[in-house]
């Protein structure tokens, strides 16, 4: 038995921060040059007090309204986020309450970044097959903006906030295969060092440091070593794509559309070159969304569907990669 995406919706915060806003705030930033490589013109940013849970709730309500599914038929709720409301309980428990889902629902969080959607699809298929659960609500939501120091252009130019809600149902088609990989050796190349139990927040962790490019951050902010992540992406992702295609006797020409995690234009261009996937087969919506972590792939998938880039019977390859270092690909047959 397989499972397929029966419905998909997303929700973005109202507030939009465009590059002109950032330039006014930071006149020394060479935004015109930076945007050529990031590809991000504007991004949605969560308001103060607006969390990933709130965004996930809005996306879920939208999905319940548009799909016509009865909320009492939801059997499982998976919430993928790295910006939860609390250390405990999980966002999934709180969302279960807010959506007034029935008792007996399996509800849990998954702490993953940009590979989170691929994991969500893999988990959904496994749960459907092993425990005969049905109607899985997969919510992927993050508000990285709250972790970013406003004076750190190396990350502030890239990331946006957003949430997606996906309904997965039992079917004869859908997820053809998923392959996933991890390279924990480089876990510290994309990290928020303080705030957990290893380095609790303190006055010391709140001290600002300024790097040689003038970016400021504390140990409670995101630190990203873009070069290492690009190297890891190039070392792992093209091989992962070749593997999943070969395992399923497929070639690039058999896939109608490739949807990569929208990391940055530079990363997407380099990946396209390394994998030799034709430009017209790669969907890109980073310009007005930015990098929205685990919500990136489903938002791009929804935009591709809205733009009629996918039709019934098409094979679509989704690929996510990021903090961890973690990566994965999924091939879907669209029904």
């Amino acid at each position: 038995m397989n499972c397929s995406i029966a419905a998909l919706e997303y929700f973005l915060p109202k507030k939009i921060v465009n590059n002109r806003d950032l330039l006014i705030e930071n006149p020394s930033w060479n935004i015109a040059e930076i945007v050529k490589k990031t590809g991000v013109d504007s991004r949605h940013i969560a308001a103060s007090g607006e969390t990933a849970l709130d965004l996930g709730y809005e996306a879920s309500k939208k999905l319940l309204n548009t799909s016509g599914i009865n909320k009492d038929d939801i059997g499982t709720l998976i919430f993928c986020t790295q910006s939860p409301d609390h250390i405990l309980p999980a966002n999934a428990n709180i969302l279960h309450n807010k959506l007034a889902l029935k008792d007996g629902v399996w509800a849990f969080d998954v702490n993953l970044a940009c590979s989170g959607y691929i994991y969500g699809l893999a988990l959904s298929k496994a749960l459907l097959n092993t425990y005969e659960l049905d109607n899985i609500l997969l919510v992927t939501a993050d508000t990285y903006s709250k972790y970013i120091h406003p004076k750190d252009k190396s990350v502030r130019m890239l990331f946006g906030d957003g949430a997606a809600a996906t309904l997965l149902r039992r079917s004869d088609y859908g997820i053809i295969d998923v392959t996933i990989g991890t390279f924990g050796k480089k876990y510290d190349k994309f990290i928020i060092p303080a705030g957990g139990l290893r380095i609790p927040r303190s006055r010391k962790t709140e001290e600002e440091i300024t790097d040689n490019s003038g970016n400021r951050r504390t140990q409670g902010n995101i630190f990203m070593e873009g070069f290492s992540l690009l190297s890891l992406a190039m070392a792992k992702v093209p091989e992962n794509i070749r593997q999943i295609l070969a395992k399923n006797n497929l070639k690039i020409e058999d896939i109608e559309l490739f949807i990569f995690h929208q990391a940055s234009k530079a990363v997407l261009d380099t990946l396209k070159k390394a994998t030799e996937i034709p430009e017209e087969k790669v969907f890109n919506n980073i310009a007005n969304i930015g990098n929205v972590v685990s919500a990136s792939i489903p938002i791009a998938l929804k935009d591709a569907l809205s733009a009629n880039k996918i039709k019934r019977g098409d094979k679509v390859l989704l690929c996510g990669f990021g903090a961890g270092f973690s990566w994965g690909s999924a091939i879907l047959e669209w029904g």
Partner: protein, 97 residues
């Protein structure tokens, strides 16, 4: 002009374009010794890779990849000198293949 000199000039110009801060204190340094990762932030390093790959394609007509499994520890990108050496070796490899 020999390949390595041409590549060094090219890398220097790309670095200069990407981040003016990267070439501060040039008066006291040889170009080859300029420490890239100390001068360029995360975003600038990614931009450097992409810009260099584009420029090398234009100048030499050869498409090379500057990142992958052998650059995970970033050693070729430590200084302009080590980067020039890495680019020249990649160009040689491509020419031979």
């Amino acid at each position: 002009m020999q390949n390595s000199e041409k590549v060094e000039k090219l890398v220097y110009e790309v670095v200069k374009d990407i981040n003016k801060m990267a070439v501060q204190n040039l008066n006291t340094e040889r170009i080859g010794d300029i420490p890239l990762q100390e001068r360029l932030d995360s975003l600038a390093m990614v931009n450097l890779v992409v810009s260099l790959e584009e420029t090398i394609k234009q100048e030499f007509g050869i498409s090379i990849s500057l990142v992958g499994s052998d650059t995970e520890d970033s050693s070729p990108f430590k200084t302009i000198g080590s980067l020039v050496h890495y680019i020249c070796s990649q160009l040689e490899k491509k020419k031979r293949s």
